[in-house]
Symmetry: C2
Subunit: 361 residues, 2 copies
Amino acid sequence: MRVGILGGGQLARMLALAGHPLGIESTVLDPGEGVCAGAVATHLVGGYEDADQLGRLSAAADVVTYEFEQVPETATTELARHNTVHPAPQALATGRDRLNEKRLFQELGIPTARFAAVDSYEALEAAVADIGLPAVLKTRTLGYDGKGQAVLRESGDIEPAWNQIGGVPLILEAVVPFGREVSMVAVRGTDGEKRFYPLVENLHREGILKESRPRFGDPLHGTAVDYAGRLLDRLGYVGTIALEMFQEGDRLLANEMAPRVHNSGHWTIEGAEASQFENHLRAVFGLPLGSTEPVGSCFMFNLVGHLPDPASVLAVPGAHPHYYGKAVRPGRKVGHITLRAETESLLEERLEQMRRVLPAD
Amino acid sequence: MRVGILGGGQLARMLALAGHPLGIESTVLDPGEGVCAGAVATHLVGGYEDADQLGRLSAAADVVTYEFEQVPETATTELARHNTVHPAPQALATGRDRLNEKRLFQELGIPTARFAAVDSYEALEAAVADIGLPAVLKTRTLGYDGKGQAVLRESGDIEPAWNQIGGVPLILEAVVPFGREVSMVAVRGTDGEKRFYPLVENLHREGILKESRPRFGDPLHGTAVDYAGRLLDRLGYVGTIALEMFQEGDRLLANEMAPRVHNSGHWTIEGAEASQFENHLRAVFGLPLGSTEPVGSCFMFNLVGHLPDPASVLAVPGAHPHYYGKAVRPGRKVGHITLRAETESLLEERLEQMRRVLPAD
């Protein structure tokens, strides 16, 4: 079995690592030289609109998938002529546009914060009048990890925000006072079977995910399963998806979906019977899905802009570091650490030990 | 961190796969084209006495290790001039010679079956008279998976056995009526710390390992830990080792040691907190050892000479196939499947399911 992956970053790297034991060889297409998936996959160097390299990727793969949602439509359309492409380009198109995404949530009865399309300064003023402040103005496409966003706290912020990111299609979203950020990582197979990992609690700082913790038996797990399930079925989705939500009181408000393996599911490598990476591959190859049952208790730390001393990390029992083989730069995700323990109380002890090793920020 | 590995088969492949998350890049030296570790490591094609390629391996590695014990001494001696080599070539030399190995066991007070050196036909006759029959005649070096061995059941077998493998240094060993074949996989760090996986029960057919099952809480675990510990300390060993033993009544008789990661420890990838591969790498790099505690209950099936249908295997809950990317040939190890469950009784259920998928033999 041969998979082609658009993008050669850490998600592709972890997909390729999950593939080898299953007998799945990976080829990645990525314009960067020496991308981190290249250590475990064949790397074709080229842009996502490079017809020659797309042809090579197509020839090297039975199934094509991707590690990021900003793939140009021309690439997936071209690949879909020759290969099975999962998740379907339609899911990609929806996930690429925050407005379409929110409208889909609405249509499926999945609650969201209030939002409005903003295509002009006048529309922005009208949207603020309607939704109120605080609110966040976002580009409809191409935003990730907090980029392409401006927070509006008072009316004086409207003009600077417009100057900062205006001129492209935007969306204004109400900022809701929320208790938790959570995500549901789920997978759907070619036969429509769906499996759901436990609900995950996430902590972001400056728009970048810092910590994730699966919460087994969370009272909102069922609600999140219901929402993610509706989305998977409507999209006829095949593969792993993540639905990010805010908790407001006892409600979940959908924020965005990621039509791919997701950072908040990295703990599944050690913490679930089959990881999100393995399940994504099982799904796109039409194989039976693996169990999403937890194996002990888990916590994930992202390593952003720094790599701690390996010996100190490995001295903590149950620590499973994952270094991505990337050069360290400020704000760059260069690895993650999953901490696992048989019980929640033992996990708490180990968390304390690990927090002494990791730099505070 | 960069590791060089002599040999590029499935053990090197699984070492390399364990290395990537830890930030350890692997380079393997192996004369075969397209060896299976090549998919996840840099592969230098060359013999183990090829000075140029040994030089390249040395330059590409901080630490050198190996996946098989038949490495020529010239290679390890040359590499040890420039690199840290673990386990030490001395352990390799002992493990390479069945007679020295048995004498070492004896010296350490580790029981063995009766044995005698055989260097001539007359010595063979004398050894048979002393030890009795049945017995097994083995080459002192280069034997593995049942090769270079002849079983002597009656005196008429002596001459044919001599004709078959005589002319090189041999050892005659008593065949003991044993209840179980077991192994102890253990690891020792540069600081002398030792960790032990649970005792494993093994089933061989025609000299090839077919099945392994860790037995948590086995009454002979402590004895096995004691024996393996003596061996590790005497050899000043660094890395993962396996000690294979027979159980005769309530005694363990050491059969042989493997100074490397071992087939009977493959279940540790999913079934222990840190796998034998990860712990070997942690050890040889002088990093803290990982926990050898079990994670649920496990069973391992070797795939020898056949690959079952992937979909049928993956339909069994808790199944973790590991395909080595090798062409299927009769008698060749081409993969293994670890079956994991939270409890022994659930494991039994899954074992029944898996046995229906795997061909009987």
